[in-house]
């Protein structure tokens, strides 16, 4: 994300330009939606929660002093909302993400498409079965491609704790996906 552009938008918003907030939302909405979707695995909830994230940002942005980067701060709000949400609604009926959102599959063979979808489902199921903190760390590392040090800041934990959670997550995924690997 363009840090300079972000800072400029934050300044403009703090000076009272409401339109700058809309631009900020447009700049980060896709990244945050993808994070939330991977965490809660439900399209409608993800849409709703992503909007909640930005509502929270709107109310807190004037007090944002920039001790951490905006991106870290934004990710922290999103992850905390998702963790609270999964705690509340943790045992929703299981519908795999590939069934809910149309994945981008480009293949000419129907059989390959079918196999690909099955694999996507297996990966989704394995990720969904991770304990929520491990899932959060895995999503931030694997899908959002954040370094461990950044995840530690987002989740307000030590880097050691993040690495431990990530290691546990990979160990569990290796076990769940063993059938496809061997």
């Amino acid at each position: 994300m363009n840090e300079e552009k972000t800072q400029e938008l934050i300044q403009r918003f703090k000076q009272g330009e409401e339109k700058a907030f809309n631009e900020l939302v447009n700049l980060y909405k896709k990244k945050i939606f993808n994070l939330v979707l991977r965490m809660v695995r439900n399209k409608e909830d993800a849409m709703d929660l992503t909007q909640e994230v930005f509502v929270k940002v709107y109310h807190s942005l004037k007090d944002f002093r920039g001790q951490s980067s905006f991106s870290t701060w934004l990710h922290r709000i999103a992850v905390n909302l998702c963790l609270n949400f999964t705690q509340r609604d943790k045992f929703r009926s299981f519908i795999s993400l590939p069934d809910l959102v149309q994945p981008v599959i480009s293949s000419s063979s129907p059989l390959k498409d079918f196999e690909k979808k099955e694999l996507d489902k297996a990966i989704d199921r394995a990720v969904s079965n991770l304990p929520k903190k491990q899932r959060a760390v895995f999503v931030l590392r694997h899908y959002q491609e954040l370094p461990h040090s950044e995840i530690a800041k987002v989740m307000d934990k030590s880097e050691g704790t993040i690495k431990a959670n990530y290691f546990q997550a990979i160990k569990k995924l290796k076990k769940s996906l063993a059938h496809f690997v061997e």
Binding site: N26, V101, Q102, P103, K133, S158, A164, F167, I170
Partner: protein, 205 residues
């Protein structure tokens, strides 16, 4: 470095996040140990498999007017705050909140307890006092008291199991107290099961 320690570092090795010295050490070990090589191949294949997952198009973000949705929630929130929370209610809630915080700090000081939630159940983890080692006192319980582990200095075996379950090196990096709080309900149940096996063996003997 033995195989056990090497295996704990294979994820970092794959991600290239080790120091050059550690990397060399692992590399040299992998060249001679087929067992660790196999383990590394499994980790590598898992990562490669995860990379094949199809990306998702966030089409909803563009089909609907996302920003308008955020804006209407902001406006709705403002209205609701005025309607539902008149000033005297906010003041009352603030005083209650302060009271709860003060009470919480008071209780925490007395019992040195950390209360945390894992799934549906609340666990209480008693922090040992400074002169007590953690080996002496690790205790958790569910609200029904069904998950309780108590360690004494004589129960070294239990501690070993605990450490193994917590993946020694990795959890120790996080610190045992922190690691313990990171466990979820399933992991706590497994831990309890393994600890109970030891107790069972003792009774037979």
């Amino acid at each position: 470095m033995g195989c056990k320690k090497i295996k704990l570092k294979l994820v970092d090795y794959y991600e290239n996040s080790l120091s050059p010295e550690e990397r060399k050490l692992i590399q040299a070990h992998l060249e001679t140990c087929s067992n660790c090589q196999k383990e590394f191949q499994k980790i590598k294949s898992t990562f490669e498999l995860l990379k094949t997952e199809s990306p998702f198009e966030a089409e909803e973000l563009y089909r609907t007017n996302f920003v308008s949705g955020v804006r209407s929630k902001i406006d709705k929130g403002k209205e609701t705050a005025v309607e539902i929370f008149p000033k005297w209610k906010i003041a009352g809630a603030f005083i209650t909140f302060l009271f709860v915080i003060i009470l919480g700090i008071f209780l925490f000081r007395i019992d040195q307890k950390v209360i945390f939630k894992a799934g549906e159940e609340t666990y209480t983890y008693l922090i040992p006092t400074e002169d007590e080692s953690i080996e002496k006192f690790i205790y958790t319980e569910g609200y029904d008291g069904s998950y309780a582990f108590l360690f004494t200095d004589t129960e070294k075996k239990k501690l070993t199991v605990l450490e193994e379950e917590l993946e020694e090196d990795y959890w120790e990096r996080a610190g045992r107290e922190e690691a313990f709080r990171e466990l979820d309900l399933e992991e706590l149940k497994n831990l309890k099961k393994n600890l109970e096996k030891i107790k069972f063996k003792k009774e037979i003997l």
